[in-house]
Amino acid sequence: MLFRYLYSLLGVLLAVPLCIASSNIGSRPQLESRVSDLFSNSTDAGGHTNNWAVLVCSSRYWFNYRHMANTLAMYRTLKRLGLPDSNIILMLADDVACNSRNSFPASVYANKGKEMDLYGQGIQVDYRGYEVTVESFLRLLTGRHDHTVPRSKRLLSDSSSNVFVYMTGHGGNEFLKFQDNEEVSAYDVADAVEQMWEKRRYNKLLFAIDTCQANTMYSKFYSPEIISTGSSALGENSYSHHNDMDIGVAVIDSFTHYILQYLETLGKTSKETLKDFFGIYDPSKIHSHPGISTSLSTSPPEDILVTDFFGAVAKIEISPKSSELPISSHASYSTQWEESPNTARNRDDLDKEREEPSSSSSFSSGESTFGGNGNVWKSPLSVDNHMKRVFGTLGGLSGIGLFAYFASRN
């Protein structure tokens, strides 16, 4: 009996503060408007069509090789999972690949065995060297560029984009050092992200940071739909994973190493969620305590696919059969295909053509095409012309000679 009363008493006790709280919400128009603002802002709830990534390595110098390698390895992984280069903004504060101390010039490795060259071919560094500053980073996030900044240096995301921000470098309590002379504070990053949210520049944002005391960097976020993770707690260092004796410096940081190791197991069509992603964190291996913050996100990590951030295109739409032209006017049958007017050209002819750029352009029309063979536009003097000139000059000279001869005779 007593217990029953106790339960009802507890129920009443719980109800009282709840009622007070709810009446408070109702009576405060300010809060209400803020809540409604919050909802009005999310135009396309949950829907996303494209992914963007901002990868930042903020430290210079050869001995920070591992930070460059972290970022480049992340870049490679994103590309392997199908994110096009145009949607990755890569910021590298130094160019270790071409450092004179690099005994493997023009290559960067993120592991001891030097299995994969991260620099290699097809790399697009958008901000490099001294372009990587706190200002350029914050301008990138907020989109406040000078109008001359090219497309490749802009984060052109919108309300249907998922944005992944990865940072690495040397940091401390609530700051991350950029280059060697300035630092970005957690407040700055939080304010920049808030500005992104106000302009609906992301649908969801995943913030990952690998630096000492990394978890302090995301502690100041206050905008919605952010999931953040860091490598180490306040007062902890973030350690490198291993050295390479030939390169002579540490090649990768632990936290990033284990993330990449996990991402390596995923394919483009993986259905793994962020919960699985966070599940691989092992403080004993990483030697620090990685942090995860999902309090700002409305959807829990188990509902978000890893490929929602690390993947390529969110979806495609296949045209139905009915959208094709009906059979009578369909073009795919053989009689309508024409041979090219200059058909006799096989490969050899093509090669020849390349050598003799004066022959007709292979484009359908000069005006509307671009790219391709630049030689077409600046055709050098052909041999005929040359000979004509020589003959002309000779003729002229002989004429003068004859004239002089007759003049002297008279």
Binding site: D37, N41, T49, G82, P84, D85, S86, G122, R139, T142, G143, R144, D146, P150, R151, S152, D158, S160, V184, S185, D188, D191, Q195, E198, K199, K268, T269, V313, K315, I316, E317, I318, S319, P320, K321, S323, E324, L325, I327, H330, A331, S332, Y333, Q336, W337, E339, S340, P341, T343, R345, N346, R347, S362, F363, S364, S368, T369, F370, G371, G372
Partner: protein, 662 residues
């Protein structure tokens, strides 16, 4: 320091004629007043510099029209009421039997119009959420300001003889055989045989209600996620991709200009007030895939037997073309194909290796890719069932896979894609353009039909006709709505950010842009035309975006207090110590002097203080101190009774002092 020692016996024994060292000191040192001025000038400078420092370091934050922005957030986007002109051929109605009154066509139309309006209102009233009709029917056009929306009831010999009536929108016509109906008119064709029908009026009414509901919806269509956000400048990039032309059998050229002229210009031209299109095209000769398509047998579902049957039917009738198609289709259905799975389609576009646009602008680009697989990969097909060989990538563009005929002419032949070959691809691209730009589709099954061909000799075209004024109006309304909503959201965003981030600067440029945007949004009204409202909304959103993305709007960096201390302390602490100490000394001596004035104190003490202070004066006084040490030397010699020399020395010292003064 010997001079400050009061216990020196020799001091009091000095002769009166000679200046005492204390007097010398007094003469050498600047007067108390002057020293005070010097000492005070430093803190004064600091005080005077404070306003300047304040002015230089304070953040310019001009006030924004917050209350106007707040009122904007509650406004509804004004709806412009359209006028629809209804006309008819005079013989589109049955002639009344003799003896009955003959009505003018206009009168009949007015009666019909009332019915239509009643019908539409009834439908809108029943719909949930409730909608409102936003147009009126008129029967006489205003000559100065003709309405773009026209309906015509046409008596037409080539119309369908059975009901229901099949309304269509008049396309652009050229040549001798034109119907005389202006382009973009909604035409309700009626066959002469149908005119005598008893229920003709009902049929007219149904056809009118249906077609007007479809062409002039109460609310503009939403902008779906797959479409581009509004941007005044859009680049269209057409790319012909050969997977690998090094192995021969590739498309060498294409009639891109005529294809664009035929298929895209009629769609783009009417949108010129809304979008500014730039078109570029290119041919790529090497476009490798990142995945390998799988070679597989066609499954029974994948071959479309219906089409083969249809073609075979035609072939039996002796149609040569159908026969060829049938052969082709049967072969196609038996052939093994290279299948592209749905997951592969997501990574089909190899942006890393293919350069798909010139990248010359910051405008959004829509890419239309015509992909020709290499011979080893033919025929390449999409593995999804019942689909066209084409797919759309939201906000990016579309892809169409075009397989050259299996019966290739020669192994090394190259193709020219003529406009008839490109017709199928461009038909698909047109549809994709509609999806990507959120243009409303004209044809609505059962409501709006394809127009008849201009000449009865030609078969009706399956191509989509150019954009009509009805669609342009819908685009204007939906984009106008999108823009004004975006502008208002951005303005509210700016307002909130400025309140939240105190370090953010608001200069004159930003404020002017915000004001301009607010003004344009306030200008929008129901009395202006849809185009005027759209232009206002377009400028408003452009200005609001410019204000938001203004480079000067960068919030200044946040620095914690420890950081500020760490910066300012090394700079100011060393300067502050002598300044503060000097002031303190000055204060002390002032008090002493006051006390001395009250009760005369021995001269000795006063001089001693002065000397002591003069030593504390730092750099300026240093030379004088040197002087004093000279004097003390003199005194020491005084002790040893060498007075002549002393006198000379003192003179020397005076000269020295005068030199210093100079």
């Amino acid at each position: 320091m010997s001079i400050t020692d009061p216990n020196r016996p020799s001091y009091s024994n000095l002769e009166r004629e000679k200046p005492t060292p204390a007097e010398v000191t007094l003469q050498i040192n600047p007067s108390t007043k002057r020293r005070l001025l010097i000492t005070l000038s430093f803190p004064l400078l600091f005080l005077l510099a404070i306003p300047f420092w304040w002015y230089v370091t304070s953040i310019e934050r001009l006030p924004l029209p917050v209350s106007r922005i707040d009122t904007l957030s509650n406004i509804t986007i004004p709806e412009v009421r359209g006028k629809i002109l209804v006309t008819a051929d005079s013989d589109a109605f049955p002639t009344p039997p003799p003896g009955r009154a003959v009505f003018e066509t206009k009168v009949i139309l007015e009666a019909l119009g009332r019915e239509v309006v009643k019908g539409v209102d009834g439908i809108y009233e029943r719909s949930r959420p409730q909608k409102k009709r936003n147009w009126d029917l008129i029967y006489d056009d205003n000559k100065e300001n003709p309405t773009p929306f026209k309906v015509h009831l046409r008596r037409f010999e080539h119309a369908n003889t059975s009901f229901p009536l099949e309304p269509y929108v008049q396309p652009f016509e050229k040549g001798l055989m034109t119907s005389g109906i202006t382009e973009g008119t909604l035409v309700i064709p009626v066959h002469p045989k149908q005119i005598s029908d008893r229920f003709l009026k009902q049929h007219y009414k149904i056809a009118l209600i249906n077609s007007l509901l479809s062409l002039y919806p109460a609310q503009p269509p939403m902008i779906p996620l797959r479409s581009l956000k509004y941007s005044p400048n859009i680049t269209l990039s057409f790319v012909l991709l050969n997977e690998d032309s090094s192995q021969g059998s590739y498309a060498r050229s294409w009639s891109i200009e005529s294809a664009i002229q035929d298929h895209f210009i009629p769609q783009l031209e009417p949108l010129k007030d809304i979008f500014n299109f730039t078109i570029e095209s290119q041919i790529l000769y090497h476009a490798p895939l990142t995945f390998s398509p799988t070679l597989g047998e066609p499954s029974s579902e994948k071959c479309d037997s219906a089409r083969i049957d249809a073609a075979l039917e035609g072939a039996k009738r002796g149609d040569e073309m159908d026969e060829a198609i049938a052969i082709d289709l049967i072969q196609e259905s038996r052939q093994q194909a290279w299948w592209v799975g749905e997951e592969d389609m997501k990574v089909f576009v190899n942006s890393e290796r293919w350069s798909l646009d010139s990248g010359s602008t910051n405008n959004p680009v829509l890419r239309f890719l015509l992909y020709i697989p290499k011979e080893a990969h033919r025929p390449m097909k999409l593995a999804t069932e019942d689909s066209a060989q084409s797919f759309l990538l939201p906000q990016f563009g579309s892809v169409h896979i075009l397989n050259p005929p299996s019966l290739s002419l020669t192994q090394t032949s190259t193709y020219h894609l003529s406009s008839s070959t490109l017709k199928g691809s461009f038909h698909l691209f047109t549809q994709h353009l509609y999806s990507l730009l959120a243009l409303p589709v004209l044809y609505d099954p059962g409501k709006i039909h394809h127009p008849p061909s201009p000449s009865p000799l030609l078969p009706p075209s399956d191509m989509w006709q150019g954009i009509t004024p009805w669609q342009v109006n819908q685009v204007l309304l939906s984009r106008g709505k999108e823009n004004s909503e975006e502008a208002i959201k951005t303005l509210i965003g700016i307002k909130r950010l400025v309140r939240k981030i105190k370090e953010m600067k608001i200069g004159k440029g930003v404020r002017d842009k915000v004001l301009g945007s607010v003004e344009r949004l306030e200008q929008m009204s129901e009395n202006r035309s849809a185009l005027e409202n759209f232009i206002s909304s377009r400028d408003a959103v452009t200005l609001a975006n410019e204000a938001f993305f203004d480079p000067s709007m960068m919030g200044l960096l946040y620095f914690p207090d420890e950081h500020k201390f760490a910066v300012y302390t090394p700079l100011f602490a060393p300067v502050a110590v002598p300044l503060l100490l000097g002031l303190l000394k000055e204060l002390l001596s002032w008090r002493k002097r006051k006390r001395a004035a009250a009760g005369p104190a021995p001269v000795l003490t006063a001089t001693a203080t002065v000397v002591e202070e003069s030593q504390e004066q730092g750099m300026v006084v240093q030379e004088l101190v040197n002087d004093q040490s000279l004097i003390s030397e003199i005194e020491q010699r005084d002790d040893s009774q060498t007075s002549v020399a002393t006198g000379e020395e003192v003179l020397g010292a005076r000269e020295l002092r005068s030199r210093i003064k100079k």
